[in-house]
Amino acid sequence: MDDLYKEVILDHYQHPHNHGTLPDATNSYEDSNPLCGDKIRMEMKIENGVVTDVKFTGKGCAISQASASMLTDEIKGKSLEEIKHIDKQVVLDLLGIPLGPSRIKCALLPLKVIKASAYGIHEWGDEEEE
């Protein structure tokens, strides 16, 4: 049990960081996971190739929402080049819990939305196909 829902995940779920909308966003994207209906919207402000602000809204399980909360902390202040290197493993390390195949999709949805928002939908990596 303990290893499944670490305190930190429940904290992020209850008190998500960077939750809300960004009226002066330069980039945004929304996607959902058809399997479970998890939904994430990312709004980002990108200036000179750096993410200066990011906020998310969404509905879903603790894993997807905590992942969004942690990832928005992670990318704030990073350059688009740095964000390119954020992959599946980074997300799994942030969450720090073992995940089965269907819940990995929940965990990776926010990353997928971040990359689609930052680079457009065709240019993000192939984490899901691995």
Partner: protein, 415 residues
């Protein structure tokens, strides 16, 4: 308490003897697929070990035996649902394929632009999407019977909904989410009075309720063997006169009488609708499942599930924030309970995925998601629900474990 001897039934199901995460398995997902008794497993094993041959055109003994066993399974299905003739029983891959068969074969041949198809908000995607495809192709209109606050079909407007324009009514006999047992008699009477055919999705009903297709007077009935203790196979029942007049669904071997290079003629029923080598062992296994259910008696199966469901509905109320959707009386619903855990105080609602993942740690298997019924979840304005479903092998003790585990979920999230 129970009308069934559940402890002896449990011994017939090898999978239920196992431990998951070091705890005895509590399987509460039979609405998705049921477990299989020893007799079904043995029927599959015996077929492959002693009889395996392709059916219908073999002259040698094995092939004759295989054919006989396969066709005997068809007759078992016929009797199980009280169809008039074995020719009215078509084996398919699953209920979904059976519903598609009707849409593609009957629908394409009989629907004209401007005709109407009526489904309901309760439907599983398999009884929605084929009709959408058909309506798009034919420029027909797709309408739906609404649901009420109890998750039951609301028939107040039936007279206006089913009119001379209605050609097909496709509706479930039991919802896989609210559990509602639908008032089919009224719908079928009205549909027939306006000249429409009725397609019944019995995927949830056939495993759990006595089903008499002649008393029901349904035109087509679809269900799946795998939800009723059998292997992965499906069945379409259709009234003979309708099936006789319908064009084939899939083309290939076995469904033809004669094939020439430019054209062919069709085999007689039911083979006209069974192109290619069918799921022979699975059909025979389904026959064994029917034997098993008949030995228990479908009335007893229903009585057991009603007791268990009432017990579950009562017990689940003990969990604060938990809300079961669907009819509140077990007499009006099948053996399942779909629920949400609502927000409380400063804490957000608990997503069904999280509930299911935590229950898994207690070796309790429930399903989380929209259960292939997204329009119904839209109606409730819920992205997903958690669902526990029951069958002949489930016990009140397992429901106690479910409830204890749910209390634990709430504690974890609500510190």
């Amino acid at each position: 308490m129970s009308t069934l001897n559940v402890s002896s039934i449990r011994e017939d199901f090898p999978i239920l003897q196992q431990f998951v995460h070091g705890k005895p398995l509590v399987y509460l997902d039979s609405a998705a697929t049921s477990q299989k008794p020893e007799s079904v497993l043995r029927a599959l094993d015996t077929y492959y070990r002693t009889t395996n041959a392709n059916i219908h055109r073999g002259i040698y003994q094995l092939a004759e035996q295989a054919t006989e066993q396969y066709e005997n399974a068809r007759k078992q299905v016929q009797k199980f649902i009280n169809a008039k003739s074995w020719r009215e029983i078509i084996f398919t891959r699953n209920a979904t394929e059976a519903l598609n068969l009707v849409a593609y074969s009957y629908g394409r041949a009989n629907l004209r632009a401007g005709d109407e198809i009526v489904i309901s908000v309760l439907e599983h995607h398999s009884n929605i999407v084929p009709w959408q495809l058909l309506a798009q192709e034919k420029n027909a209109t797709l309408k739906h019977i609404p649901v009420d606050g109890q998750g039951q079909l609301a028939l107040d407007d039936l007279e206006n909904l089913l009119t001379e324009k209605t050609k097909i009514v496709a509706v479930t006999m039991m919802s896989n989410v609210t559990g509602a047992i639908t008032p089919l008699d009224k719908i079928i009477a009205r549909a027939h009075s306006v000249g429409a055919v009725v397609v019944v999705d019995a995927a949830q009903a056939a495993p759990h309720l006595p089903l008499d297709v002649r008393a029901l007077d349904a035109d087509f009935v679809a269900f799946s063997g795998h939800k009723m203790l059998g292997p992965f196979i499906g069945v379409l029942y259709g009234k003979r006169a309708l099936l006789e007049a319908m064009p084939p669904f899939l083309g290939g071997g076995d469904m033809i009488r004669q094939v020439h290079l430019q054209e062919s003629t069709w085999n007689e029923l039911p083979h006209k609708f069974e192109a290619g080598t069918p799921a022979i062992a699975e059909a025979i296994g389904m026959g064994a499942a029917i034997d098993y259910l008949n030995a228990l008696g479908m009335e007893n199966v229903r009585a057991h599930e009603m007791e268990l469901t009432q017990y579950a509905l009562d017990k689940l109320q003990e969990v604060p924030t938990l809300r079961v959707i669907g009819p509140t009386a077990s007499a009006q619903r099948g053996g399942l309970a779909a629920f949400e855990m609502q927000a409380e105080g400063t804490f957000p609602s608990i997503h069904p995925h999280d509930i299911a993942a935590i229950l898994d740690r207690d070796a309790i298997c429930i399903r989380a998601g929209h259960h292939c019924a997204q329009p119904l979840h839209d109606f409730y304005d819920l992205p997903a629900t958690a669902r526990a479903s029951f069958y002949v092998y489930n016990t009140p003790d397992e429901i106690d474990q479910l409830v204890a585990s749910l209390q634990n979920v709430r504690k974890m999230f609500n510190k």
